[in-house]
């Protein structure tokens, strides 16, 4: 075998083992009152604040911070949650560096931006995890909406609709509600218990969630359409498809999202292992960082292009490097070798031709000795299921086509979240749910007059 040197980017020479506690990289979301007050008082209270404009759900950041600085946690939670019902998880999983905190004007003063994420976690904690309902729930309208998928989009639309007095039933095939918040967020950002506790808050508002129910098999779509006046589809994306290379059936090769879920429920053990993650997006970075934090001996992130082309956020990439993840750029997997379990990942080098096409360079094969291979090369669309919904159309990328109100081609079906945008942040899914809920409410009002 022709072994060549792979282009690598790593801090591992400086940091022999990933021993840095995650808290040193991303402060724990919880704050003491003293800490929160110091931080809240730093806020300049900008007019038409850039942080609010940067938030996909337009949380009024200066106003919720003002409530914290004046000791009013109920008011703070209400300010946050009225814009974003999943404010507690967004406080933990949002890429704040790209959103609110990145927009903070203090950056331009060369000062640390306000820790909006942590303040938001602080400001929602009592209400969300204490299950105190800060909202007035409208009188029952007698109307019922069915929601497919108890992920962020479905929880958002459900919560907004029950606040308006409607009945909402969310169906989810998984044993636990929460979607990617429960199963797909790397543990170091938010643990499973926090995600599930937040769902409990949503149900305390009056949303009914039926887990372990697969729409299309456990309950037919016709039944669903008959039971509910309107239906919201928030089914997210599917699994990460196989790479289509030899050796993928070996033990130790798996979908990076399944791996993250297994770490969350404690069934995945990577301690002491050598792990290769394939991909360059956020899931790949998360799986790599989580592997390192879970005690992997060495973590490789194998990506067919360079650092600049990676889809992962710069701050997440930075964190992965700090955790000792070794980035292997311009490499693509050829095959996975091993007798029963994974032993080697064999890659070839890649390059761009003058016309910008990515090509594999012949004769550049090299092997990386690994015990586990995680594929994070993009989730599949749920086109099969979506095809069973009459009138619901998808685009060439398999994303559900909706209008600006998130209504699909079927005037009784709305959709939002990853199945519409192809896979973005929790906060984007929440906004979809908000927009759809408003439109569903108007449509129901118009149809009968509540």
């Amino acid at each position: 075998m022709n072994q060549t040197e792979a282009p690598r980017e790593s801090l591992s020479a400086l940091q022999p083992a990933p021993t840095i506690a995650v808290s040193a990289l991303r402060p724990a979301p919880t704050m003491t009152w003293d800490e929160a007050l110091v931080e809240a008082h730093r806020c300049l209270m900008c007019w038409d604040a850039p942080c609010t404009r940067a938030c996909p759900t337009s949380i009024n950041v200066p106003q919720f911070i003002k409530r914290i600085s004046t000791g009013d946690l109920l008011g703070s939670a209400r300010t946050i949650l009225s814009s974003n019902i999943l404010g507690a998880s967004c406080a933990r999983v949002c890429p704040v560096e790209m959103l609110c905190e990145g927009a903070c004007v203090l950056n331009d003063l060369h000062e640390r931006p306000i820790q909006i994420g942590r303040l938001q976690a602080f400001g929602t904690e009592d209400v969300v995890f204490g299950n105190h309902n800060p909202f007035e729930i409208a009188a029952p309208t007698g109307r019922s909406i069915g929601v497919i998928g108890a992920g962020p989009a479905g929880l958002s639309v459900g919560a907004e609709l029950v606040k308006l007095g409607h009945s909402v039933v969310i169906y989810d095939a998984q044993p636990q509600p929460g979607g990617l918040n429960t199963y797909g967020v790397a543990n170091y950002k938010m643990d499973m218990a926090t995600a599930i506790a937040e769902v409990a808050f949503i149900t305390s508002l009056g949303v009914e969630i039926r887990t372990g129910v697969s729409v299309g098999s456990d309950i037919s779509i016709d039944d669903l359409m008959e039971t509910h006046e309107a239906v919201f589809v928030g089914v997210g994306l599917g699994g990460i498809p196989p790479l289509g290379i030899m050796g993928e059936d070996l033990n130790g090769v798996e979908d990076a999202l399944d791996f993250i879920a297994d770490v969350r429920n404690g069934s995945a053990v990577v301690s002491g292992q050598r792990v290769a993650v394939i991909g360059g997006g956020n899931t790949a970075i998360d799986a790599a960082t989580q592997s390192a934090l879970s005690g992997a001996q060495h973590v490789y992130l194998v990506y067919r292009r360079g650092r600049e082309q990676m889809g992962g956020y710069p701050h997440d990439i930075e964190r992965a490097l700090q955790q000792g993840v070794e980035f292997v750029h311009w490499s693509t997997p050829d095959r996975i070798e091993g007798s029963d379990s994974v032993e080697r990942l064999v890659c070839s080098r890649t390059e761009l031709t003058t016309d910008g096409t990515l090509v594999v360079i012949d004769g550049t094969e090299y092997a990386i000795p690994v015990d586990r291979v995680l594929r994070a090369t993009g989730q599949a669309k749920r086109t099969g299921f979506l095809g069973t919904l009459a009138g619901v159309e998808t685009d060439s990328s398999g994303r559900v086509i909706v209008d600006e109100h998130h209504r699909t081609g079927n005037d009784r079906i709305w959709a939002g979240g990853d199945c519409v945008n192809g896979g973005k942040e929790v906060v984007n899914a929440v906004e979809h749910g908000k927009i759809a809920a408003r439109n569903i409410h108007e449509a129901l009002l118009a149809s009968v007059g509540i």
Binding site: V38, L44, A103, L109
Partner: protein
């Protein structure tokens, strides 16, 4: 290096930084440590018939997380015996002959009582005495402190008694809880005072405990008004110091300035408005005696930078720049300018002007997610508000405009023969109609 030493009505002090009569000057040991730290003088915590205090004594006002912007106390005069204090005064003077030791006194309104205690503290070596006519709580209920300071005749009388007994200079400490401080200062001067110290503390309730409904400081389930001091009171005190220094009847009366001083800049401001020495309490109660170190160095560097060789040369320099409103130039025009290079786009100037002032700033959300702001030049009245709220140093400046208008005071303008035209100023017409 500028000379920091001062002489106030014959009392020499190595620098103008004194400790005010208060908890930091309660004991000889404290004052000794303060002198070691660099304080030039100290006014001994008020002596008199020893009292008993309540336990809970202090409360404060925090502003946006900054502690003790305002501070209040309901502590009374010394609770230590006169004998102990006299022994310690003597020992402190023996050890620190070059530092100024002034002893604050408060006794009942009886000439003999004043005569006795004045002779005792002078015997012990005090360089001067300060008559406490300012304490606004507790003692005033017993006919002392502010009860004296609030009545000019009493102030004059007791000052006269004290002067007839004292061989050292007599300072009268004035209460700000009056309508016009000049009357109190004139009364002190008429009584023969060698100097005045001001301000004493201001009557106050610092806040209310929103759970128990008890005002602060909480004493059990009750409270009582206290004496307010700290950074929040400095502007009030500066005005009173300037009024006395500018009053023809008291212009020659030396002043020891007190109120919210914690830095060399604060001290310099008092000196510029006529004070010879300054007294500090709250800042020391917050940070300890060590704050005097930076005060020393800062004032010295400042004087050097200004080409002044002594504190005395600085004293009163701002007084000629204080006048009455009617003598201000109503044709002085300045307008705000925003430095777009340093602007961070918080738009606080916009909302402050829009809601709080004269609607003279424009705003636009920009594509980079920030805000762009600009001055509507014709609408700007030059009020300064935007430059005050701007969090960026020197980003918004007030720039004098050469508009060619004749300099003119209100007095001149309203006279029969104004020297020129009133330069027009932006005004709103009808803004809302039915």
């Amino acid at each position: 290096m500028a000379d920091l030493s001062v002489n106030i009505c014959g009392i020499e002090s190595p620098n103008p930084f004194w400790l005010a009569s208060a908890p930091p000057t309660n004991t000889g040991d404290q004052i000794a440590r303060a002198f070691d730290a660099g304080w030039g003088g100290a006014v001994w915590k008020t002596l008199g018939e020893p009292i008993e205090n309540v336990y809970s004594r202090y409360s404060s006002v925090d502003i946006n997380g900054s502690r003790m912007m305002g501070f209040s106390n309901i502590e009374l005069i010394t609770d230590r015996s006169l004998e102990l204090n006299l022994i310690e005064i003597e020992e402190v003077k023996r050890r620190y002959p070059d530092n100024a030791v002034i002893v604050s006194l408060m006794v009942e309104s009886d000439p003999d009582a004043w005569d006795t205690i004045i002779k005792q503290v002078e015997q012990a070596g005090a360089d001067g005495i300060e008559l406490n006519f300012g304490c606004p709580h507790g003692m005033s209920e017993r006919g002392m402190g502010a009860a004296v300071g609030q009545v000019p005749e009493y102030t004059c009388d007791i000052t006269t008694w004290a002067k007839s007994s004292a061989t050292t200079p007599v300072f009268v400490k004035l209460t700000p809880n009056i309508t016009d401080i000049r009357y109190a200062a004139r009364a002190a001067k008429n009584g023969g005072a060698d100097a005045v110290s001001l301000i004493n503390t201001i009557n106050s309730i610092t806040g209310v405990d929103l759970d128990s409904f008890t005002p602060r400081p909480v004493v059990g389930d009750m409270s009582s008004h206290g004496g307010y001091c700290g950074p929040a009171v400095k502007p009030i005190a500066l005005n009173m110091v300037a009024s006395i220094a500018a009053d023809p009847q008291t212009a020659d009366l030396p002043i020891s300035g007190i109120g919210g001083i914690g830095t060399w800049q604060d001290a310099a401001e008092y000196i510029l408005l006529g004070a010879t020495t300054i007294q500090v309490c709250t800042a020391v109660m917050h940070y300890g005696y060590r704050i005097v170190e930076s005060m020393h160095e800062g004032l010295s560097n400042y004087l050097d930078g200004k080409g002044l060789s002594s504190v005395e040369e600085l004293r009163g320099k701002s007084l000629e720049r204080v006048t009455t409103w009617e003598n201000l130039d109503i044709n002085y025009v300045h307008k705000a300018e925003i430095n777009q290079e340093t602007c961070i786009g918080c738009a606080l100037c916009y909302i402050a002007c829009e809601d709080g002032a004269h609607q003279a700033i424009g705003v636009k959300a920009t594509e980079d997610g920030k805000s762009e702001v600009w001055i509507k030049w014709d609408d700007c009245v030059g009020c300064n508000l935007c430059s005050l709220v701007c969090p960026v140093k020197d980003c918004i400046t007030m720039v004098p405009q050469d508009v060619g208008a004749t300099s003119m005071t209100w007095v001149e303008y309203s006279s029969d023969n104004p020297p020129g035209e009133l330069y027009p100023r932006p005004k709103h017409g009808l803004t809302i109609s039915s």
